[in-house]
């Protein structure tokens, strides 16, 4: 074997060895990716939660934080068994075990529980919630009740806004009533008054719907101005039904050239009482007397 052949063979061996040695390296770098979403007991995304994945074999940990949408990604993890733990203010979660394989993305979605520090404290001296004698029903969160309260508030907010909006055509109806009755009135004035009254009735119906259909909070006794607010509904509610009925009767009598008479003559007084009760109901929850 001449010198050139030896050099060539050595170069081939070196190349083969380098290929053999370097081949496994990309497999180590291109590790597994762990991703997922962290949610609260109500299903809402938990941002800024600390997510930690600990390799069971090596003990090495990789950490990241969840995004504003509760998602996280831990790239380039070595394949193997991992213990995934999550910590977030006000929440608790038990560590979860996952097995990662090279090149295969793994998804872990975790739902946290409300953090109720009523478990005995790790320190022997630090007092815990259980030391204070609260019952578990007092200290444990209830996501279903929270969802009910959320729905209640949502519906009552619409009730409040619709009530304010209803006030505008209500006032306009009362104002136009001055030209709708009496001797010197025109059909146009009566029509305008009727149209505004109809609009008020429709908006009032929507307002009332959201108050009636809003879920009740369990075990709560009604106290304070809301009692007056509800009591007024027993006046303006029937009034809002009676007023248009009497109004139609008065309208027909007036259109026939008659003087408004009989029960239809009560349209005006009933409307005033109704509007007054509606205004009082509005003020009772708006201004502290």
């Amino acid at each position: 074997m001449n010198r050139k052949a030896v050099q060539c063979a050595s170069a081939m061996w070196a190349l083969a060895l380098s290929l053999l040695i370097s081949h496994p390296l990309p497999a180590q770098v291109a590790g597994a990716t762990l991703s997922g979403t962290i949610t609260s007991p109500s299903g809402a995304a938990v941002p800024n939660a600390k997510v930690s994945a600990k390799n069971v074999a090596s003990g090495q940990s990789s950490e990241t934080q969840t995004s504003s949408t509760g998602t996280f990604t831990l790239p380039d993890l070595a394949p193997g068994d991992y213990e995934v733990s999550v910590s977030a203010d006000g929440f608790a979660a038990n560590p979860t075990k996952v097995t990662l394989t090279a090149g295969t993305p793994q998804t872990v979605n975790l739902s946290l529980t409300a953090n109720l520090p009523n478990a005995p404290s790790s320190s022997t001296t630090e007092p815990s919630l259980s030391d204070l004698g609260f019952s578990s029903s007092q200290t444990q969160g209830n996501t279903r009740e929270q969802a009910l309260l959320d729905k209640r508030t949502h519906m009552l907010k619409i009730h409040q806004r619709m009530g304010l909006i209803t006030t505008i055509p209500l006032i306009a109806t009362v104002v136009t009533s001055l030209n709708a009755g009496g001797k010197n009135t025109s059909t146009a004035s009566r029509d305008l008054h009727t149209a505004l009254g109809g609009l008020t009735g429709d908006l009032y119906g929507i307002t009332a719907y959201y108050a009636i259909r809003a879920p009740r909070a369990p075990g709560v006794e009604t106290r304070g101005p809301i009692r007056f607010h509800k009591a007024m509904a027993w006046i303006h509610g029937p009034g809002m039904i009676l007023t248009p009925i009497l109004g139609i009767m008065a309208y027909n009598q007036k259109s026939n050239g008659e003087k408004v008479h009989g029960i239809a003559a009560a349209h005006g007084p009933v409307a005033i009482v109704t509007a007054g009760a509606f205004g009082a109901a509005l003020l009772s929850v708006s201004i502290k007397f």
Binding site: L129, T139, G141, K288
Partner: protein, 177 residues
Amino acid sequence: MKKNILIAFALLVLPALADSQWMLKDCTLTYHVSHPLHQTEGVSHAARGKGSCHDGQCDFLIAVPVKSFDSGDSNRDIHMVQVTRGAEFPMVIVRTRLPESSATSATINADLEIQFAGQTAQYKQVPFKLETKDGETHLTGTIPATLSDFKIDPPSLLTLPVKNDIPVRVEMTWRPQ
């Protein structure tokens, strides 16, 4: 032999006997909410608390149910529970550590950790006045809490939101056990 047992007993048991505990006897917590149309206060007398002292340091824990605050209007109280996620996180929990010697001071500055509405907020050096009478320690002060500390969206009335500040007035009476 007996002497050794006595020494061992003294070493093991006496330090434990030196530890002391405090119990919360009475407590009034009052939060204040400002709205352009309303000034509202909600009061709770339902707080419970305990303090455990060891090596000259006392760890205090005070907890109060969110639902126990009464503003005189059930509708407002339910709304308060809703916006603070009080059904999901039903307790307000306060923790602090104070030197045992501070029980004899006229004022203390406490570092408070408060868990509320699923969040934890730290309040540094909150001043409290102390008065000791008949073996009981009466403590008063105000925690400068804000809605944003606990990521609570300000509730609104007639489309006007309340102010961010919700100072909590604290009046407590502790007695040693």
